[in-house]
Symmetry: C2
Subunit: 323 residues, 2 copies
């Protein structure tokens, strides 16, 4: 896993993923007490950065292998990214989801061209179903974060931030990244190591689900005590990845965490001030930039808003409470 | 009023206004029956294209004149654009607003650095107040659309669309533009005349307030019968401008109009599929692209979403009804 893989992913992705803008507002600067720049990944295809890693992984496959198709386990942003990347490559995608997944997510994944295979969480084994389908059809599994070509794809977001910061004359800044398994955070950190050594990637997690922050502090992988109970469930994983953790441990600054309410307040701020739709898990980095100013260093902070696939009912609640 | 003025405005605006992205989603393509590209002006500074015209006008002033400050009459997007453009130039801005304007708009305009002067609609004359202030302080009036440097600034949006369409290999398309007084539509049309003759600008208005469409059809300026009663009130003007109408008459395709409900549905689609916040008046062009496919020509349609400054309560209603 190195910068060459990220640069190769950037060449493969060029013209296919969007170079998302860095947004800003004087109102956000005032809340944070410093300049805030927001990398707007909700504007990426499929509404999250996950399209980058999915495109990178699908495009890196040998054409004959790719033609047989890909498979992923996900009910969320990774599923949509893999589905659409496969569709644009003209190859089949199978997404394995629990049958109680939200109907909208199932419909969206189908809308991006995938075959959705539902399973019964109580009585069926997801991995067994996936392994059988993969073998029967010759499908390649695209893992959500602990996969070099996926990390390389997420790293293209870091290359863009490095370029955009340089264009603005920003040499040093904390770059706050919404962190689940660490694919995005580690990819961005590798990009900065090579191209913007003054930028420091720092993972941000929901309070109570800060496995990465604790792992970084302890110097070894620690697990979350539980997996449920956060509105930011899209970025709750059992633990940092086996591939991503060593990269984050070597390159990243200390982790931060924010409350669910702070994430919702950041969503309202992004609505009001940036005209950007952000999901709870995609808003934790902006929340830390806005509401944890003492934990951040420097005159400028960059926050990566990682996704915008939020249920309309929850978004209404956010606007009612904080809009 | 010519292309040289637009290109000069583009040079002055470079590095200050955002080059907003062209967004897309396969879900929108499916609704429209053709490829839909959305120019995302809600991501512009102050949340609408108005910042372009305001920056252009303020930056074109003689420095000694500019130093005395600028004045505008507006309770909406033009006010915020002028306020912020003046602030970034380090010169005073006075915005004259009715005292019953929404508090949020007053607060936002002040937040962008302007002095807000309120007047009593029933008993005071706005123009008289403005003229007195302008004379006392040497302020320059920045009109919202019928002003060459404002049209030139809005035209920079057209230059960007021309470039972005060329990058994507699009030589011919209808470009639907939310139209009030016609500053944005006429500026875009002039940019296309010089740089993308296969792109055709077409104004889109709220049903019942289609003064521009009727004026284009009649070949002379026609007025709206009334000024109130549309949710898209931000783009309701009495009639097309004296400067903008001849340009639109020479260069634009026929106008379109959509219902308030179609505009709200387009807002919901932009939320769900583009993660973009759009206000009702800023959504009429997207609504026409999605819901009036027979009125549009070609394989690709480009819709300019012009602004995103929408009240959270109205946005909640949109999500409840159509999300």
């Amino acid at each position: 896993m190195n910068i060459d893989m990220i640069e190769a992913a950037a060449r493969r992705i060029s013209g296919h993923a969007r170079r998302t803008p860095l947004l800003s507002s004087p109102f956000l600067d005032e809340i944070a007490g410093r300049r805030v720049l927001v990398k707007a990944e909700p504007l990426q295809h499929t509404g999250s950065f996950k399209f980058r890693g999915a495109w990178s992984a699908v495009s890196a496959l040998d054409p004959e292998v790719r033609a047989k198709g890909v498979i992923a386990f996900s009910s969320g942003n990774h599923a949509q990214g893999v589905a659409y990347a496969a569709k644009l490559h003209g190859v089949p995608a199978v997404i394995v989801m629990p049958e109680d997944a939200p109907r909208l997510k199932i419909a969206n994944t189908r809308g991006f061209g995938a075959e959705v295979v539902l399973y019964d969480r109580a009585n069926e084994d997801r991995d067994e179903i996936g392994a059988r389908l993969a073998e029967e059809r010759g499908l390649t599994l695209i893992k959500p974060f602990d996969e070099p070509q996926v990390i390389a794809g997420q790293g293209t977001c870091g290359l863009e931030i490095a370029e955009q910061a340089a264009e603005m004359g920003i040499g040093e800044a904390d770059v706050l990244v919404c962190c689940g398994g660490g694919g995005l955070t580690s990819g961005i950190a590798l990009a900065f190591e090579a191209h913007a050594p003054g930028l420091r990637a720092r993972p941000v997690e929901p309070e109570g689900f800060d496995d990465t922050a604790r792992s970084l502090a302890a110097g070894r992988i620690e697990r979350n005590a539980r997996m449920t109970g956060s509105l930011c469930d899209a970025i709750v994983t059992p633990q940092p990845g086996e591939l991503t953790f060593p990269i984050m441990h070597r390159l990243c600054g200390p982790g931060l965490s924010v409350s669910d309410e702070e994430a919702l307040r950041a969503m309202a701020a992004a609505f009001l001030r940036l005209k950007l739709v952000v999901e709870p898990g995609g808003a934790v980095a902006l929340a830390a930039a806005l509401f944890r100013p003492k934990a951040v260093e420097g005159d400028t902070v960059i926050a990566v808003c990682s996704g915008g696939n939020v249920d309309p009912a929850l978004f209404r609640e956010v606007l009612e409470r904080f809009g």
